[in-house]
């Protein structure tokens, strides 16, 4: 990441309308040189629209986009500086792999030898040397996407745009390729924006994640921040698995779930005593071992279901409140064996204060 304070890409108040439908609502964002940023959100959240606005493929209705200090708000794609990779690869089917990769170079009237050298270098870079004479249809999906990446990088663009590049691939290839793309990006240092609806992709690849919902940015942060400290119920729900429990504020730094008093890490702002709130905790943060040593935040539950998920068990715990709320908790196989957790058994669990996120109910349900 760059240490200068000038962002490489500056998006200010971008709004995009399709007829009466507002696809982007007043979006502002800064992206720094060399960053790998993921736009993450469900389908229809506006992430692709924002990417296409940055590329100039569907120019925003209002608002500005600056790249490298230059206002590019109204420029057509051909006058901007970016390389792009689509989910469909969009490789030219009748041109060989070499010609696909060299397509942008040919037009710049570079000498043939220079183009050939650059094409070989790029194919080497994406791990596909010696494949230049083949045609796209002869390659696997993962290989095609590498070629598309090489083609996008051929002209050394200042900005690399990836529109769901891995979505059309098999799960295994996807995991492998996301690692490679990340490494490649790190090596080249090219500022990169990737659109994805896959949170795992975003968490593993991005330097920063931009979580979008209904045409607005909900939260911008590092993967750890997004996962650990979601700032809205939507982000909390969309990224990872999250428990949402109803609670009532009892003091400025404690709440009550059912008949259990739960202390908080810090004082609640702007939430009156007696108001109802939603408490969020991730299943893996629920503690059951060494419960005696923890004095606070103990809650009584009954195991109603135990689901084996391979490397761990996911338990459905019924709380002792009126509604019989369900709390999901992830337990390791060892733990289940050691403590003897089984369906129907009553157990006490601890909800550690520093793992709790509290949202006032006026912020809406996810």
């Amino acid at each position: 990441m760059s240490d200068t304070n000038e962002p490489y890409l500056q998006i200010r108040g971008v709004t995009k309308m399709f007829g009466d439908f507002t696809a982007l609502k007043d979006v502002s964002l800064e992206i720094f040189e060399g960053e790998f940023v993921c736009f993450l959100g469900p389908s229809g959240c506006g992430k692709t629209t924002l990417l296409r606005a940055i590329a100039g493929l569907d120019i925003q209705t209002s608002g500005s986009v600056e790249q490298g200090g230059k206002d590019i708000s109204n420029l057509p794609p051909s006058e901007r500086d970016f390389g792009i990779v689509f989910q469909s690869y969009a490789l030219f089917p009748n041109l060989s792999i070499s010609r696909n990769v060299g397509y942008g170079l040919e037009n710049r009237k570079a000498p043939k030898a220079e183009i050939n050298a650059r094409v070989s270098e790029l194919l080497e870079l994406v791990g596909m040397p010696e494949q230049g004479e083949k045609y796209p249809a002869q390659l696997s999906g993962g290989q095609q996407q590498r070629v598309a990446l090489a083609r996008a990088l051929a002209t050394k663009p200042g900005l690399l745009l990836l529109d769901e590049p891995l979505s059309a691939l098999d799960a295994k290839v996807r995991v492998h390729l996301r690692h490679e793309i990340k490494q490649l990006q790190h090596k080249l240092g090219v500022t990169t924006i990737m659109v994805t609806h896959d949170q795992e992709e975003a968490l593993t690849m991005a330097d920063r994640i931009v979580v979008m919902n209904e045409g607005s940015i909900d939260q911008v942060g590092t993967p750890l921040e997004i996962y650990r400290r979601p700032t809205s119920p939507f982000v909390a729900d969309f990224v990872g698995t999250m428990n949402f429990l109803k609670a009532t504020v009892t003091t400025s730094d404690s709440i009550r779930i059912g008949d259990a008093d739960i202390g908080l890490e810090s004082a609640l702002d702007d939430m009156a005593t007696g108001s109802s709130v939603t408490v969020c905790i991730r299943p893996e943060d629920v503690i059951v071992r060494d419960i005696e040593s923890e004095t606070d935040n103990i809650i009584d539950t009954v195991v109603v279901d135990l689901e084996f998920l391979g490397s761990f068990y996911r338990a459905m715990l019924k709380l002792n409140d009126q509604k019989g709320s369900i709390l999901l908790a992830d337990f390791s196989i060892n733990l289940v064996r050691d403590i003897g957790i089984e369906e129907g058994k009553s157990i006490q669990v601890c909800l550690p204060a520093r793992r709790l996120r509290i949202f006032s109910d006026s912020e809406g349900e996810p």
């Binding site: 309308m17 007829g19 057509p76 390389g83 690869y89 030219f92 710049r108 249809a137 002209t155």
Partner: protein, 569 residues
């Protein structure tokens, strides 16, 4: 979509996208296609409509011409005749073509490829060819006229038989497509529920092809009601709308009444066109569903029946074509049955010499080359241009419109528009240019749809990728779009070529002595009583069309072999 007008709150500046050079070139081309359509379709139609409301001196007289038309029984009886012919021909054609298509798609009989090839032969012939053949079969000197049990071939019987031959391949192609898109899983489910063959036919097959069936019905209906060649040759005293237009204009020089009959003929054609459009749209939705293709299983009895049926139909088609060829070589039917090439000595016939034959080839070549270029490039621009939504939408509509205009109507409308003394384009009247423009326009719609289908199968992001690599769109168009769409482009050019060779209706009003065409010459020779030379000219047309088709097939096969590395099938 970025050019949609928006309710924007004050103070927020709406970004006005800067147009790239690509955008400007594309828009320029789209406007050119629009101007073409306005000049080649809209203005001529407008002139024709206004002519129908004028008297001989060009004064506006409202609906008086229509009043006169509907109070002249000799004229308005043709409406009934036209509908009668169209409905009966449609029922017979669809019944025959459906069974044939069913045999080709749902049986495992041998010789499917051969049967399909034979069934498509009528497309290569001008519509008057079957009419001429029927004269030799069933006319005064016909070899099997007894089969008509004393009925006259000149009249509805002859017209209907000719129309069935002429429209059969058109119906067949639509029905084959409809029947081949069946979902095999539905049949497996029906069989596992122990449904009978008849029940499966009515509950699975028929609903599955209903849109194709409706589409075929309207296509055949339109072809028949607008056809001119067959009723002209074999209609006798039986008048239909298309021949009435010809008689009013050429026979009586009554252009105003010709315009009125044209309007009358335009109405059913437009209605059929609208219904077909609606149905086509639904058909597309049906095709996108993921289905397991149906595969026919051998069934001895069924396959035998289907084979016999197909063999009979194939035999009849070959017999009709064969009769025209045979008659063209007979020296003087029925008195001197010795073979000779006398009938091919076109230069001594009334109606047009060998010049008309070479004119036809020239016209067909121009139509194919210029037409394909304009239509494919136009379709590409309309499909791929960004923004400019309203203009693109209206041009899209204009590209579909020519299908609704019968050839006779288009030709007559061209007289009114291009022969108008004040028209600056007046100079093309009577030249090869007007024939080419008229023919391209007449067959624009199907070609445009073929181009659109091919273009829609291309990855929509090719242009975005090119722009990001700063490659101008026309480079990508030449290097990627055209090679990938080459099969469709060749299909379009062949379609235009063959239709330009065989068409009569639109060009009958527009040829001059220097630009006489083979199909028109055949019609005029027949009119002058030289039936055998007319047959000979039709045979020449079939010969050229078939030769071009065969070359096309060979070329396509060779191309497929060369491109199999990259073409996914």
């Amino acid at each position: 979509m970025s050019d949609v007008a928006l309710p924007v709150t004050a103070g927020i500046a709406v970004i006005k996208p800067k147009l790239s050079r690509d955008d400007r070139i594309m828009r320029g081309f789209i406007v050119m296609v629009g101007v073409w359509m306005v000049i080649a379709v809209l203005l001529p139609l407008y002139f024709m409509l206004s002519k129908s409301a004028e008297d001989h001196d060009g004064n506006f007289i409202g609906l008086a011409n229509f009043q006169e038309y509907f109070s002249t029984p000799a004229l308005f009886y043709s409406i009934e005749n036209s509908f009668f012919i169209a409905i009966v021909s449609t029922i017979i054609t669809i019944t025959l073509a459906f069974q044939f298509a069913y045999a080709l798609t749902r049986s495992t009989m041998p010789g499917k490829g051969l049967f399909k090839t034979i069934a498509l032969i009528p497309i290569l012939a001008p519509s008057l060819l079957p009419a001429i053949s029927f004269v030799y079969f069933f006319g005064q000197q016909g070899i099997i006229k007894e089969l008509l049990l004393g009925n006259e071939i000149y009249g509805p019987i002859g017209i209907i038989m000719g129309e069935v031959f002429y429209t059969f391949p058109h119906a067949l192609m639509i029905l084959i497509t409809a029947l081949s898109t069946a979902d095999g899983r539905l049949y497996e489910a029906a069989l596992s529920l122990r449904a009978s063959r008849v029940k499966i036919f009515f509950t699975v097959t028929l609903p599955g092809i209903k849109y194709g069936l409706i589409s075929a019905v309207f296509v055949v209906f339109t072809l028949v009601i607008t056809d001119f060649g067959i009723p002209k040759v074999i209609g006798g005293q039986f008048n239909v709308l298309a021949t009435d237009i010809y008689k009013q204009v050429i026979g009586q020089q009554n252009f105003e009444m010709g315009a009125v009959v044209s309007v009358v003929l335009l109405i059913p054609a437009v209605l059929a066109f609208i219904v077909d459009r609606i149905v086509q749209r639904k058909q597309v939705a049906l095709l996108t569903a993921r289905a397991v293709p149906y595969e026919a299983k051998p069934a001895r009895g069924f396959d035998t029946v289907m084979f016999v049926y197909s063999a009979i139909i194939g035999f009849l088609i070959l017999a009709i074509l064969g009769m025209a060829i045979y008659a063209s070589f007979v020296t003087f039917w029925p008195y001197n049955m010795a073979f000779s090439l006398n009938n091919y000595d076109f230069d001594v016939m009334d109606g047009g010499g060998w010049d008309s034959f070479s004119n036809s080839i020239t016209m067909a070549l121009y139509t194919a080359v210029i037409g394909t270029t304009i239509i494919f490039t136009g379709a590409y621009m309309v499909e791929k241009a960004k923004g400019f939504g309203a203009v693109r939408g209206s041009i899209q509509f204009l590209c579909i419109l020519p299908m609704a205009v019968p050839g006779m109507v288009l030709g007559l409308a061209y007289i009114f528009f291009f022969n108008h003394p004040d028209n600056p384009l007046n100079f093309i009247y009577g030249t090869m240019a007007i024939l080419v423009i008229c023919t391209i326009t007449h067959f624009y719609t199907v070609s445009h749809m073929t181009a659109m289908t091919a273009l829609k199968q291309m990855d929509p992001e090719f242009e975005a990728v090119s722009a990001s690599l700063k490659v101008p769109f026309f480079k990508t168009f030449i290097q990627v779009t055209v090679p990938v769409c080459l099969p469709a482009i060749l299909d379009i050019s062949i379609y235009l070529f063959v239709n330009a060779m065989t068409t009569v209706s639109a060009v009958i009003f527009l040829y001059s002595t220097e630009t006489n065409l083979a199909s028109v010459a055949a019609l005029n020779m027949d009119d002058a009583g030289d039936v055998a030379p007319a047959a000979a000219m039709c045979v020449m047309i079939v010969f050229v069309s078939a030769t071009v088709r065969i070359f096309h097939a060979i070329f396509t096969r060779g191309m497929a072999r060369r491109s199999q590395l990259w073409r996914q099938r």
